[in-house]
C-alpha cells in the first residue's frame, strides 16, 4: 500500500513539474524562434521545414549535421558524375535536415540553376534546341524555388537574397526582380558594400534609366561630403554622368 502511494506521489510530482515546464518550454521555443528567425510565431513555412526537420531529428537523435554533411558529399560526388537528379535530391534533403544553413541553399540552387541548366542546354543527346531550352529552364526554376525557400528559412542574412538577385539577373534576365532582391539584401545589415550599387545597375539594365539615375543620386547624397572610399563614390559619379548622358541622348533622339 505504501509503495502504491509512493508511486502515485511520484507521478503527481512529475505531472506538477510538467505543468511548470510546458509554459517554460513554450516560452523557450518562442525566444529561440525570435533569436534565430526574427519572429515569435511559427509561420506555415517554418512549420513545413520544422515537420521535416522534426522527423529527421527523431531519426537521427540530434546528429543532423553529420547526416547533412554526408548528403552534401554525396551530392558533390553526383555532381562530378553529372547525375543532376541525385545532386538535387541529396541537396534538397540536406536543406530539410538543416534549413538554417544558408550554405546548403546557396550550393543547391547554384547546382540547379547554373550547372544542371547549362548541362541541359548543351546536352548532345537532344537534337531539338527548344526542348533543351525548356529542360534548362526547369532546372533554373528549381534553383529559383530553392532560393525562395531559403530566403524564408534564413531571412536574417543577405547572402540568399543576393544569390536570388544574381539568379534573376543572370539566368532569367528579370532585372526588376533582381533589383528588388538586392534591395531586400541591403536591409539585412551583413550585405557586402558593393551590393548597394547593384540595385542601380539592375534598374538601368531593366531599361528604367530614370529610376536608376534617381537611385544613384540618392545613394551618392547618402554618402555625404567625406564618403567611405570602400563605397566607391567615384564609381557612383561616373554612373550618374553616364545615365544623365544616355537619358539626354534618348530625349534628343525622340521625334518631337
Amino acid at each position: 500500500m505504501i509503495r502504491v502511494w509512493s508511486w502515485l506521489g511520484l507521478v503527481a510530482f512529475l505531472v506538477a513539474w510538467g505543468g511548470i515546464k510546458i509554459p517554460w518550454e513554450n516560452q523557450m521555443a518562442r525566444h529561440q524562434r525570435l533569436a534565430t528567425l526574427g519572429f515569435a510565431n511559427p509561420t506555415s513555412v517554418a512549420l513545413r521545414e520544422k515537420l521535416g526537420q522534426g522527423l529527421a531529428l527523431a531519426a537521427l537523435g540530434g546528429f543532423r549535421g553529420l547526416a547533412a554533411n554526408a548528403l552534401m558529399l554525396e551530392a558533390h560526388g553526383a555532381w562530378e558524375k553529372k547525375q543532376w537528379v541525385r545532386v538535387r535530391s541529396n541537396l534538397e534533403m540536406a536543406t530539410i535536415l538543416q534549413p538554417r544553413v544558408a550554405l546548403f541553399w546557396d550550393l543547391a540552387s547554384w547546382h540547379m540553376a547554373w550547372n544542371a541548366a547549362v548541362a541541359a542546354e548543351n546536352f548532345n543527346g537532344e537534337p531539338s534546341e527548344t526542348r533543351r531550352r525548356i529542360e534548362a529552364r526547369k532546372w533554373v526554376e528549381a534553383g529559383r524555388e530553392l532560393l525562395e525557400r531559403g530566403t524564408r528559412a534564413v531571412p536574417e542574412k543577405s547572402i540568399l537574397f543576393q544569390r536570388l538577385g544574381d539568379l534573376y539577373w543572370q539566368r532569367l534576365a528579370d532585372y526588376q526582380a533582381a533589383a528588388s532582391c538586392y534591395r531586400e539584401a541591403l536591409t539585412k545589415g551583413d550585405a557586402p558594400v558593393f551590393l548597394e550599387r547593384f540595385v542601380g545597375y539592375a534598374l538601368a539594365k531593366a531599361g528604367d534609366r530614370e529610376a536608376a539615375l534617381e537611385y544613384f543620386r540618392n545613394l551618392r547624397l547618402s554618402l555625404g561630403e567625406h564618403p567611405d572610399p570602400e563605397r566607391k563614390p567615384e564609381v557612383l559619379d561616373r554612373e550618374i554622368r553616364r545615365l544623365e548622358r544616355e537619358i539626354a541622348e534618348q530625349r534628343q533622339g525622340r521625334v518631337p
Binding site: 510546458i22 518550454e25 531529428l57 527523431a58 554533411n69 552534401m72 538554417r100 542574412k157
Partner: protein, 281 residues
C-alpha cells in the same frame, strides 16, 4: 548539511575514480584521431564548408562519446552495485539513500566534465591547426584570412560547447533515474535512449497537443500529453546547429536552455531519490 555534502562528495569521488579505472579515457585517443582525420578529409571544399564539416564532426564526436560514457556509466551505477551486493556495504554506513543517488550522479558528471574539457581542448587544437593551414594557403588575401580566423576563433563555439554539456548532463540524469528503477543495465540503456530520441520530437508533440484540441483521438491525445509532460525537450539544444551554421545567437537563448537543464536535472534527481527510497534492496 555540511555532513551530508561531505558524504555526497565521498560517493562522487569514489564513483569518479571507479569510472576512470575502467580506462574510459582511451576513447579520447579515438576521438582525437577521428577529428584529425576528418579535418583533412574535406580539403577540396571551400574554407566555409571545411569549417562547417569540421565543427559538425567535432560536436557530433563530442556528443556521441559523451552520450555513450554517460549512458553506460549511469547504467552501471546502481544496477551493477545491487548485482554485486556492494550497495549493502555502502548503505549500512550513515549514508542516506538520496545522498547516495546524488553522489553517484555528481561522480558521473565529474567524469563527463573532465572528458568534455579534454575533448574540447583537442577540438580547439584541430581548429587552430586548420586555421594555420588555411591562412597559409590564403596568405595573399587579407579578407579571406580574416574570415578564416573568424571561423576558427568564433567565440560562439563556447555556447555550443556549454549546450552539449548541458544536454549530456540531462541525459545522464535520465539514466540515473532509470537506474534507480531498473534491475538490469540493458533496461537503463534502452529506456534512456528511447526517451533521448523521443525528446527530439517533444516540441512537435507539445505543439500538436496544445493546438489540436478535439481534432485528435483521445488515445493520441493521451500519448502526446504523456510525451509533453514527462519527456525533456531535447530540441531546445539544437541551437548548436545555429552556431555551426554561423548564425548569430544571443547569450540569453543559451542561458535559458542552461537554466532549464539545471532545473530538469534537479527534478530528475528528486524523482530518482524518491524511487530509490522506496526500493527493497
Amino acid at each position: 548539511m555540511t555532513a551530508a555534502w561531505r558524504r555526497i562528495r565521498a560517493v562522487a569521488a569514489n564513483t569518479f575514480l571507479e569510472a576512470v579505472r575502467q580506462k574510459v579515457f582511451a576513447v579520447l585517443l579515438v576521438f582525437g584521431l577521428v577529428l584529425l582525420g576528418g579535418a583533412n578529409y574535406f580539403a577540396e571544399f571551400s574554407f566555409q564548408e571545411q569549417f562547417k564539416f569540421l565543427k559538425d564532426l567535432g560536436y557530433a564526436a563530442i556528443s556521441l562519446t559523451g552520450l555513450l560514457v554517460g549512458l553506460l556509466g549511469a547504467a552501471q551505477l546502481i544496477p551493477a552495485e545491487i548485482e554485486r551486493r556492494t550497495i549493502l556495504t555502502a548503505l549500512c554506513r550513515p549514508l542516506r539513500r538520496w545522498e547516495f543517488v546524488v553522489g553517484k550522479y555528481l561522480g558521473l558528471v565529474a567524469l563527463l566534465a573532465v572528458m568534455l574539457v579534454l575533448m574540447a581542448a583537442v577540438f580547439w587544437g584541430v581548429l587552430f591547426w586548420k586555421e594555420l593551414q588555411l591562412t597559409g594557403i590564403e596568405a595573399g588575401d587579407a579578407a579571406a584570412v580574416e574570415a578564416i580566423r573568424g571561423e576558427a576563433r568564433d567565440p560562439r563555439l563556447w555556447q555550443a560547447f556549454l549546450l552539449i554539456a548541458a544536454k549530456l548532463f540531462v541525459v545522464s540524469g535520465l539514466a540515473v533515474f532509470f537506474s534507480t528503477v531498473a534491475t538490469s543495465t540493458t533496461f537503463v540503456v534502452a529506456m534512456t535512449l528511447m526517451v533521448y530520441l523521443i525528446g527530439h520530437l517533444q516540441g512537435v508533440a507539445r505543439e500538436q497537443w496544445l493546438e489540436s484540441g478535439e481534432a485528435l483521438g483521445w488515445g493520441l491525445r493521451v500519448f502526446l500529453a504523456a510525451v509533453t509532460l514527462f519527456v525533456p525537450d531535447f530540441n531546445a539544444y539544437s541551437l548548436i546547429d545555429e552556431i555551426v551554421a554561423g548564425n548569430n545567437l544571443a547569450w540569453r537563448a543559451t542561458l535559458e536552455v542552461l537554466a532549464y537543464s539545471v532545473v530538469y536535472v534537479g527534478v530528475l534527481l528528486v524523482a530518482a531519490s524518491w524511487v530509490f527510497e522506496g526500493r527493497d534492496l
